[in-house]
């Protein structure tokens, strides 16, 4: 039963679902302008979508390759500073800034991986933690470009040199990139590289025997994860228009890990669900509750408890609740008709 459900999910081409998801998200600015939802909701949802992009990259690393990075926030922060520097200080086009601000963190990621991934996978966690701290120091100390603790500003993006986006336009751009990343992820994990990563995580012996170069594939998946972190950083910078060193601390990297654990390891829709829970629930629900809303750090407690509950009851993430729901539904439904196995 469970097997069957999982296969349907795997072989099914979900492009149309992703597109529909994108269209629904794109309606949000309209709802805001009609006064149906609050202005600030757009900011919350935009940041959830940005963290979804970042978490999808990390899910490839964690869920498929079995590696852990603790440097997500650092690489994301690097993306913000680079794009701010290139567009605001140098006055270069957004597209060029996007490419450079993804490529440079990727290069640093590859260098980190080259040193740490050769021996054992878990060295990556330590190396990325170190890199992340170094990067944060750089954000503080290199104040002639980063403005130190006071932070750095940028503007909404101008596309192709003439199309100046506003807040809503930038939000739509974020939705576009999220849907693009979802499609890319789906395609990758269902092609030979995705299978190679799964094989490497499941059995290094089988992977080497089947000709999979483990070192190369570890590096590859880490480089992709870094690229998506940096992309998230670029989008963040041009939506929030402000970056500062303390936005890129270990806590954020851990929250993005929590997104995957809570939402669903190896699941694209699970990652999105996780991002809505981890980055949405505290902002949208907890803060509005009486008493709980006034507790400092209620979000941490919430995420902590949720992780424990999820690990206990849905070790592969809350997204797997849908199988239980479907099974219960089938049971209820079938009982009414006749019983056939």
């Amino acid at each position: 039963m469970n097997n069957k459900l999982t296969d349907l999910y795997k072989t099914h081409k979900p492009y149309s679902q992703y597109a529909l998801f994108g269209i629904i998200l794109s309606l949000l600015p309209l709802l805001v302008s009609l006064g149906l939802v609050k202005y600030s909701l757009l900011t919350t949802v935009a940041s959830i979508l940005i963290y979804s992009i970042v978490a999808l990259g990390l899910n490839l690393l964690l869920g498929y390759s079995g590696l852990i990075s603790l440097g997500t926030a650092g690489f994301m922060g690097m993306g913000t500073y680079l794009t701010a520097f290139i567009t605001a200080d140098l006055g270069l086009p957004f597209e060029l800034a996007l490419i450079i601000s993804v490529a440079v963190p990727m290069l640093i990621g590859v260098l980190t991986g080259l040193v740490s991934l050769r021996i054992e996978g878990y060295y990556l966690a330590i190396a990325t933690l170190a890199i992340s701290e170094i990067l944060r120091k750089v954000f503080v100390e290199f104040d002639f470009v980063t403005n130190g603790f006071s932070g750095k500003q940028a503007q909404y993006p101008k596309l192709l040199g003439f199309l100046q986006l506003d807040r809503n336009g930038t939000y739509i751009l974020i939705v576009f990139f999220l849907v693009l990343v979802m499609v890319m992820m789906h395609n990758l994990v269902n092609s030979h590289t995705g299978r190679a990563l799964s094989t490497m995580r499941g059995s290094e012996a089988a992977a080497s025997a089947m000709g999979i170069n483990i070192y190369r594939h570890r590096l590859l998946s880490f480089a992709i994860a870094v690229a998506f972190s940096a992309l998230g950083g670029v989008l963040y910078m041009h939506f929030v228009k402000y970056t500062y060193p303390n936005a890129w601390i270990l806590m954020l990297s851990l929250n993005i890990l929590a997104v995957i654990v809570i939402g669903g390891v190896r699941s694209i829709s699970g990652t999105i669900l996780g991002a809505f829970i981890v980055f949405g629930v505290p902002d949208l629900i907890l803060k509005r509750l009486p008493i709980i809303g006034s507790i400092d750090g209620a979000a941490y407690i919430f995420n902590g408890l949720l992780i424990i509950l999820v690990i206990l009851f849905y070790p592969n993430g809350l997204i797997n609740m849908r199988y239980d729901i479907q099974r219960n539904f089938n049971k209820q439904f079938k009982r009414g008709e006749n019983i056939n196995g």
Binding site: N3, T6, M184, N213
Partner: protein
């Protein structure tokens, strides 16, 4: 280098020690083209270690392993990377099945042709023509092999939860994807019941005849080896006892003492 006209693999003075323990001790044997060759010995004799040395999972302390690759050249495998070997025509299965639970049966088999995929990362991200063409071609080949093994009906199910005998067949199917010259099987019959073992014997014979390759297998079960192998090498404590036809091995006194003596306990 030696003359390897009719030979596919030549293991020469192979030795490896773990701490003080000599797991393989100055072992030599060779395998002919198109031969089913058995490596037998009691538990702990060093059989799996020999396999791990051939496939470069372990680096031997001494000795050479000459292999006639699928381009016809003779190469010493010692010092090569494990992941380079499948491209030379050498593939293996594992004693403790190494399949990927999260992948479907057919996806597991497709991994056996990993090195044949050439589509770039970019091409895969956007599932462009080359990716689709490769996926279709190789999926079809995997399905044909599964069909041949009578596993068509489960091809799209996850590997997790399949019965043991089926898992063994899936691993074998994965090993066949690239038309190897030499297939190394580590205890293929272990854990199988009599009818499953019979069907495995037939499959292995079929593979040898249809695919024009050699097979090196480790086995515990003497009956299985006798009915299947052209020649057998018996080892104990990492040392060679005898090489010969199944009949010669059965009649060999040393083998009887070392190996058969232990069988009836």
């Amino acid at each position: 280098m030696d003359n390897m006209t009719n030979k596919l693999l030549k293991v020469e003075n192979l030795s490896i020690a773990f701490g003080g323990l000599k797991a393989v001790d100055n072992l030599s044997f060779d395998i002919n083209d198109g031969e089913i060759f058995g490596l037998i010995g009691p538990n702990g004799a060093g059989k799996t270690t020999v396999f791990n040395c051939i496939t470069q999972f372990y680096k031997p302390d001494e000795g050479n392993i000459f292999f006639k690759t699928n381009t016809g050249e003779v190469e010493n495998l010692v010092g090569k990377k494990t992941h380079e070997l499948i491209g030379k025509g050498l593939v293996r299965t594992f004693q403790n099945i190494e399949l990927i639970r999260e992948l479907t049966v057919v996806e597991n088999v497709m991994v056996g042709a990993h090195i044949e995929f050439k589509a770039s990362l970019f091409n895969q991200f956007f599932r462009l023509k080359k990716t689709r063409e490769e996926e279709n071609r190789i999926r079809k080949r995997a399905e044909e092999i599964l069909d041949h093994f009578g596993l068509s009906s489960i091809k799209d199910m996850l590997v997790a939860g399949q019965p043991y005998g089926v898992l063994k067949k899936i691993e074998l199917a994965r090993a066949l994807m690239l038309d190897p010259k030499l297939i190394i099987l580590d205890e293929p019959a272990a854990g199988l019941n009599d009818s499953e073992t019979m069907s495995l014997v037939n499959i292995i014979k079929e593979i040898k005849n249809e695919r024009n390759c050699s097979i090196l297998l480790i086995e515990h079960d003497m009956k299985f080896v006798n009915g299947l192998c052209d020649r057998i090498c018996a080892i104990n404590f990492g040392k060679l006892l005898a090489i010969g036809t199944p009949k010669e091995i059965q009649e060999n006194e040393q083998v009887q003492i070392a190996y058969l003596g232990k069988e009836d306990d």
